[in-house]
């Protein structure tokens, strides 16, 4: 009898473990959709063949992998077009991998099933080039005047992001803007405000006033639980000339954040912020319902608030993030996007380049940008696209102080990352001074150890200018 009970128990446990396995899977897709902030990524399908039809006999198939799904309609039709009309006998076969993309690419490289081309803008460059996985594109670029005109590859090469040591590994053809303030015009106008203050303390005062007048119904500002520090205070710090890595000395330094944190803390201690921090989409929905007046995020909100969670109850405006003093003393980080790299394992590199030059041709890029998928990165494309077609994205156009910061050395950090810790300081879970001290110690210890072990190099820019972080002379130190 005892045995029978055991058998039943064991089989129940097995059944449970199996449902458990199922659980983790869904879980991951849930996570990645949130981190990419792309609700269309939730489809339950992580890998999908996109190209229609089969390669005709004798065609040379170029395999392309990408993680973007939001722009699929356009890309699909353009590839279809190319497969039918190109004279080189090339057949582009696109596969979308929206989950765990980097690992999937790595796995494919290890097992010899890698594609010819990968969408590379989200990849940490050094991981790939230290292992010779990307092909430098300079020779191809230099031989192609038309490509240079459209993509301005040398003007938009960023150390540690897509280029290293003069070699360019992938070229961006679009970008996401830096963070902007999105605000409820009607709500602010009701309380007597018609513009967003340039000074952080005024910005907080305004939010406080709206909250007080809202009587618990309406609040001045809302924060999400998903990386909230990044969406306002970190960017206010950037435009105030404060950054977490001291490029001139080549070490981490968080002490600059003290004043920003002290001010940011007011959102919590003075009960200004909406009293709950939920996931990004929930907070967007609350903003769209008019529950709070100020929200801040980058240019993807243009699509979100017109299509995904359309705002039709009120007018919404877009403004620049406030700085400490009201003056701009540092560059605001933008995120370049849509770039393609050729994997060194490809046996058809020249054909792969032809495909990339099609993806980044004027015709292709113009259509892409006019669909409003992202902002143009080059002045040339900015000049020729019809902005009346891009909708609210036009409000997020590049500012003259927007730039790309050189990639800070990747470290094997013990414990929480700086965004978590600094937000904990804002929330009052840790003291500001303790948080800064803790981060300075842990980040620099990790950097020292990684440099010593040869995992990482110390990035130093002796003539670093916070207004033009991408313009300095880059050097790497091995100690």
């Amino acid at each position: 009898m005892k045995k029978r009970v055991l058998t039943v128990l064991l089989s129940a446990v097995m059944a449970l473990t199996m449902t458990g396995c199922g659980g983790t899977k869904t879980d991951e897709s849930g996570k990645s959709s949130d981190s990419k902030e792309n609700s269309s990524a939730i489809s339950g399908q992580s890998t999908e063949k996109v190209t229609k039809g089969k390669a005709p006999k004798g065609a040379k198939t170029i395999e392309v992998w990408s993680e973007d799904r939001h722009d699929l309609d356009y890309i699909e039709s353009m590839i279809d077009n190319y497969n039918k009309t190109n004279e080189d006998g090339i057949f582009i076969n696109l596969t979308i991998i929206s989950d765990d993309y980097e690992n999937m690419v790595k796995l494919a490289i290890d097992s010899g099933t890698a594609p010819d081309i990968v969408g590379a803008n989200a990849f940490p460059l050094f991981k790939f080039i230290d292992n010779d996985l990307f092909v430098p594109l300079n020779d191809y670029i230099d031989a192609d005047q038309e490509y240079q005109k459209v993509n301005e590859p040398y003007e938009h090469s960023y150390e540690g992001a897509n280029a290293h040591d003069g070699k360019i590994y992938h070229v961006y053809s679009g970008m996401r803007s830096g963070v902007r303030v999105e605000y409820n015009k009607d709500l602010l106008a009701k309380d007597g405000y018609d513009e967003i203050p340039a000074k952080l303390s005024d910005y907080i005062d305004m939010a406080k006033d709206v909250t007080e007048k809202g009587n618990g119904d309406v609040y001045g500002i809302g924060f999400t639980s998903a990386s909230p520090f990044e969406r306002l205070l970190e960017m206010s710090a950037q435009v105030s000339g404060i950054y977490y890595y001291d490029y001139t000395k080549g070490k981490f330094d968080f002490s600059g954040y003290k004043e920003i944190l002290e001010q940011g803390k007011r959102f919590m201690t003075e009960n200004i912020a909406y009293p709950d921090q939920q996931g990004v989409d929930n907070m967007r929905a609350l903003f769209a319902q008019g529950k709070f007046a100020l929200w801040s995020n980058a240019s993807q909100e243009a699509g979100v608030f017109t299509q995904q969670i359309p705002i039709d109850k009120f007018e919404w405006g877009v403004a620049q993030v406030p700085s400490l003093t009201g003056e701009i003393k540092g560059a605001l980080q933008t995120t370049p996007s849509k770039s393609y790299a050729i994997l060194s394992s490809s046996k058809q590199k020249d054909l792969a380049w032809k495909v990339i030059s099609y993806f980044q041709s004027e015709e292709f890029t113009k259509g892409y940008l006019e669909k409003g998928y992202c902002l143009p990165i080059t002045d040339y494309m900015d000049g020729i696209i019809d902005k009346s077609k891009t909708g609210r994205l036009a409000d997020f156009s590049m500012l003259d102080y927007e730039s790309v910061y050189p990639t800070v050395p990747n470290v094997n950090l013990t414990g929480d990352d700086y965004r978590t810790v600094l937000w904990n300081a804002v929330m009052g879970y840790v003291e500001i001074d303790d948080a800064i001290k803790d981060l300075n110690t842990r980040y620099n210890e990790a950097l020292d150890a990684d440099v010593k072990a040869g995992n990482s190099k110390r990035l130093v820019i002796s003539d670093y200018d916070p207004m033009h972080p991408d313009k300095g002379t880059v050097s790497y130190k091995e100690k």
Partner: protein
């Protein structure tokens, strides 16, 4: 005693039946474990592995976030077990009586077990939402609270929230274990105590509970090990926050191995492997301690 033969038909059959499970266990469990194990002395980001000697070990000793998460895991497991075991036992006993519609009730209570834990995390995000959340609205309409409770976004309540979610998701399962256990108790015993005039409570404490004790022991062990390993629903519901208040050790390890949300952190497979080893040792130690105690109790009883 029979003399052992080397190849009987029986041993062939049982061997053949055991092989698939054994092969799968080796491929899906033991091999990955050993694969991870070789990296405990390395920094490994999925691309390059660098030998770092004892650095990972030293880091582990000083990693306050990790040790805090171990503390939270114990706290969570404690809350989960002290509520879930009595609750599921009581429900199982009640539903074991000749109650009308008991099978329907059983299925309803069991249903959360079928739902993936990640989905339950998403469902509870709606239930626990501060504004317009179902739970707060219900409590408000019952005049139990005036101000909405910040279930997930306050450090004071998040542990309660994840415990409630775990109870909902797990108790139907343990209830089923108990039901199975009780079906092993002979009807004759119940009939004889009935004749002796015992009431329901007496029957429970003097017949059901003692006769369930071998099953109870196993269920408790399962409950302890699984409570220590829970992290999926927490990852979806609170991401370990606010301020790491609900960070349990396997969630921290998951973040390390698969790369956290921050840009400056990268996958740390080597360090994560070391921490999972430590976590496995911790879970193993707890189980051994439990087994020791339960054996002692057996001797006493």
């Amino acid at each position: 005693m029979k003399k052992r033969k080397k190849f009987t038909k029986d041993s062939f059959v049982s061997g053949a039946m055991l092989t698939p499970a054994l092969v799968l266990l080796c491929i899906c469990s033991i091999y990955p474990f050993l694969w991870m194990f070789r990296y405990i002395n390395y920094d490994y980001n999925g691309f390059t592995a660098t030998y770092t000697g004892s650095r990972n070990f030293v880091r582990m000793l000083h990693d306050t976030t990790f040790w805090q998460s171990v503390g939270h895991t114990f706290e969570y497991a404690f809350y989960k077990i002290i509520f879930i075991i009595p609750l599921s036992l009581i429900v199982a006993v009640v539903l074991n009586s000749r109650l009308k519609g008991r099978n329907i009730l059983r299925s309803i209570y069991f249903m959360p077990t079928i739902i993936s834990t990640a989905i339950s995390g998403m469902i509870f995000a709606f239930i626990f939402a501060t504004q317009n959340g179902i739970l707060n609205e219900v409590l408000k309409s019952m005049h139990l609270i005036k101000q909405p409770i910040q279930w997930i976004s306050s450090q004071d309540h998040v542990m309660a929230a994840i415990t409630i979610m775990a109870l909902w998701g797990g108790f139907g399962n343990y209830m089923l274990y108990f039901t199975t256990g009780m079906s092993g108790i002979s009807e004759d015993v119940y009939e004889s105590v009935k004749i002796d005039g015992a009431n329901g409570i007496q029957t429970f404490f003097h017949i059901t509970l003692p006769m369930l004790s071998p099953v109870l022991k196993i269920i408790l062990m399962l409950a302890i090990t699984s409570a220590f390993k829970d992290y999926e629903a927490i990852m979806v519901l609170s991401q370990g926050g606010p301020g790491n208040r609900s960070m349990v050790m396997f969630l921290y390890i998951y973040n390390l191995i698969f790369g956290g949300q921050g840009t400056s952190s990268q996958p740390q497979i080597g360090y994560g492997a070391l921490l999972s080893l430590v976590a496995a040792v911790i879970v193993g130690a707890v189980t051994i301690v439990y087994l020791r105690i339960s054996r002692k109790l057996d001797d006493v009883m």
